[in-house]
């Protein structure tokens, strides 16, 4: 049951992901992106990460997508004719196919069957007992305190840069 559900959600994510780059109308691309985000949120729920799923929906599918759609409508972007980048698209398709075949070959090797990755200290039972939000909070403010703090510098740099490059008069 779980795996059927997984395949449905994963297929939705991939198809809507292809639509994001394939659609000619930017609004359609943006709406497909929302679909991708929701499929990802579903995958997070299946992985016992409800907090991540909620954040995914609130921040990405909610706030960021509103911003993107808003900007598209504000700028009134023309619908691309789709002819300009034809030769790069062919190259991209060929290279993409090569990478896909390589990946499939590696995964389908007999040696790679039934291999699972390494496991960290957190498992599903622990998430149920302690709570997902609390586990993330603990990790964020103990083991990953430094990366968390670096993020603040990163955001500061991004704000300074955006203001510097986009302001009408510096």
């Amino acid at each position: 049951m779980d795996s059927i559900f997984f395949y449905i959600v994963a297929a939705t994510a991939v198809i809507s992901g292809i639509l994001v780059v394939g659609c000619k109308n930017p609004i359609n691309s943006a709406l497909s992106l929302i679909m991708t985000f929701f499929s990802l949120a579903t995958l997070y729920v299946m992985l016992d990460a409800p907090f991540m799923a909620a954040i995914q929906v609130i921040v990405y599918a909610g706030a960021i997508m509103v911003l993107i759609v808003f900007v598209i409508m504000l700028l009134n972007i023309r619908i691309e004719s789709g002819k300009r980048y034809m030769h790069t698209r062919v190259m991209g398709a060929i290279l993409g196919a090569v990478v896909l075949i390589e990946t499939l070959y590696v995964i389908m090797r007999p040696a790679s069957q039934n291999l699972t990755g390494g496991k960290g200290p957190v498992d599903a039972a622990m998430v149920l007992n302690v709570g997902h939000t609390e586990l993330i909070g603990r990790a964020l403010f103990t083991d990953y305190l430094l990366p968390f703090e670096i993020t603040s510098i990163l955001l500061l740099v991004a704000i300074v840069g955006a203001v510097l490059l986009a302001k009408r008069k510096v």
């Binding site: 390494g118 403010f141 103990t142 430094l146 670096i150 510098i153 500061l156 300074v160 840069g161 510096v170």
Partner: protein, 483 residues
């Protein structure tokens, strides 16, 4: 519930902390300065860089770990931090004259350079994939903005946008690689990754682990501008403001190598056979493509861009060797490359006019007669880049290639030497124009400000000093290699 306290050791990130605080103070001070007073920000940032460099020097030999293993400030990290700080200081010194001439004297320049340096230092000392990634992001975002810094100039805009798009793309590769590695091993601490992989062969054979290594290699190769991930380099180097080009070719390249070396050698020694082959191919491609295309360049900034690709290839030769002399050679090379490249770009700034209409090699015709001393200085830098003794570039290449020979990669060393010989052509071409051609147009009298003068002196001393007495620096570099 019990109260969890994070393990904090500010000593391990002291140089980063100093620079971050100084950069934030600069952002505040900037608001109160008029356009013609922005140079004060440069002096302030030099103070910060100097203090940070002092901390780095005093911390030598006393490795410190902090933040429950997120960072490790060992000699390896300290050596690289020294390179970044020297590069940042030289960039600040040459920036003022340029931004005044190009009328893009915005005070944000200096904080952004400092933040970029903070990112580089975190990449060098990060022992957690998250720290390395976020350090790289801080560096990259600062660089995207700095590349587009001359906002009224179309080429600069193009450079910023191009670097941003391709950089974001390559970041995706890096992050995907890190995620797959995390998936295969269950941890992001690079020492733990090595432990998990050494303990079970199932992890090593897991395709996730191998693909993760490959994707991380792609991400880092983009940062160090190794072929075939070098496409962004010429356009960005040409379009970016010249001091920023100098900065990008020195520090961030070294930072990419620092993180690349630490991740491959500490986290993935179990895959050494795989990544050595990969590096071999990367090194040959990078050297050859960089040098071949550089032969054909007329714009001197583009020429130096391709030359910087080729130099990344030489450093990869030492990395492929993987032994003490080869890897110490990378550290030595990155430091001396900082001196010679920033020095060469300083001369380009001096020769350039507003809007940079004269960046072609042919515009240097007759430069040697008009300004004999500056031409001599440029000659020193170009000789060093070409690897001619007694300049530092020769010693650097000597260590890298002898490392490769010692490790048994004789063919790689031969290809490297051949490449190095080919590269002499395009460096000498500039000299031919400087000394053997008549000037096509009248040179303006070069205006040299005191900071640029100081930069040139430091660079000449660095190039000649490290070339004639390399033992001290090499000793430090060997001391810095724990792996």
């Amino acid at each position: 519930m019990d109260l969890l306290m994070p393990v904090v050791n500010f000593g391990a990130i002291m140089p980063e902390l100093i620079l971050s605080v100084v950069a934030m103070v600069l952002l505040l001070v900037n608001v109160f300065l008029k356009t013609e007073q922005k140079a004060y920000l440069g002096y302030l940032s030099l103070l910060g860089i100097g203090y940070s460099l002092y901390v780095v020097m005093t911390a030598w030999g006393t490795p410190q770990t902090g933040f429950s293993g997120s960072v490790l400030q060992d000699n390896f990290a300290l050596f690289f931090k020294g390179i970044f700080l020297v590069g940042a200081a030289l960039t600040v010194l040459i920036a003022d004259q340029y931004v005044r001439r190009e009328e893009c004297n915005y005070g944000e320049l200096y904080p952004l350079i400092l933040f970029a340096t903070v990112g580089m230092m975190l990449m060098a000392s990060g022992t957690d994939l998250m720290t390395i990634f976020l350090g790289l992001e801080v560096l990259s975002v600062s660089l995207y903005v700095l590349a587009g810094f001359n906002r009224k100039n179309l080429k600069s805009n193009e450079a910023g946008l191009k670097y941003f798009l391709l950089g974001a793309f390559s970041t995706g590769f890096l992050l995907y690689g890190m995620a797959l590695t995390f998936g295969a091993t269950g941890t992001t601490r690079i020492a733990e990754i090595a432990k998990v992989a050494a303990a079970s062969s199932a992890v090593v054979q897991n395709p996730l682990f191998l693909v993760g290594m490959l994707l991380m290699a792609v991400g880092f190769s983009f940062k160090i501008a190794a072929a075939p991930f070098h496409m962004w380099t010429p356009d960005v180097y040409e379009g970016a403001p010249t001091p920023i080009t100098a900065f990008m070719s020195a520090g961030p390249k070294a930072a990419g190598f620092a993180a690349f070396i630490r991740v491959l050698m500490v986290a993935l020694p179990t895959l050494k056979a795989d990544w050595t082959d990969l590096l071999w191919i990367l090194a040959v491609l990078t050297m050859t493509i960089g040098n071949l295309i550089a032969l054909n360049q007329d714009n001197i900034k583009r020429m130096l861009a391709y030359s910087s690709i080729a130099h990344a290839g030489y450093a990869l030769v030492g990395f492929t060797a993987g032994n003490s002399i080869g890897t110490a050679g990378i550290l030595f090379y990155m430091l001396t490359y900082t001196f010679m490249n920033i020095g060469a770009f300083a001369i380009i700034i001096l020769v350039g006019k507003k809007g940079e209409p004269n960046n072609n090699v042919s515009d240097y015709a007759g430069f040697g007669f008009k300004h004999p001393v500056l031409a001599l200085v440029m000659t020193i830098f170009l000789f060093s880049l070409a690897g001619i003794p007694p300049m530092a570039g020769f010693m650097g290449k000597f260590y890298l290639f002898s490392g490769a020979v010692k490790a048994g990669y004789v063919w790689l060393a031969i290809i490297g030497v051949l490449n190095s010989a080919a590269s002499v052509y395009y460096y000498l071409r500039v000299m031919v124009f400087m000394y053997m051609k008549d000037p096509t147009e009248q040179f303006d009298w070069v205006k040299m400000t005191v900071p640029v003068f100081i930069t040139l002196i430091i660079c000449v001393v660095g190039v000649l000093g490290a070339g004639i007495w390399p033992a001290y620096l090499l000793g430090l570099a060997q001391n810095a290699m724990p792996f």
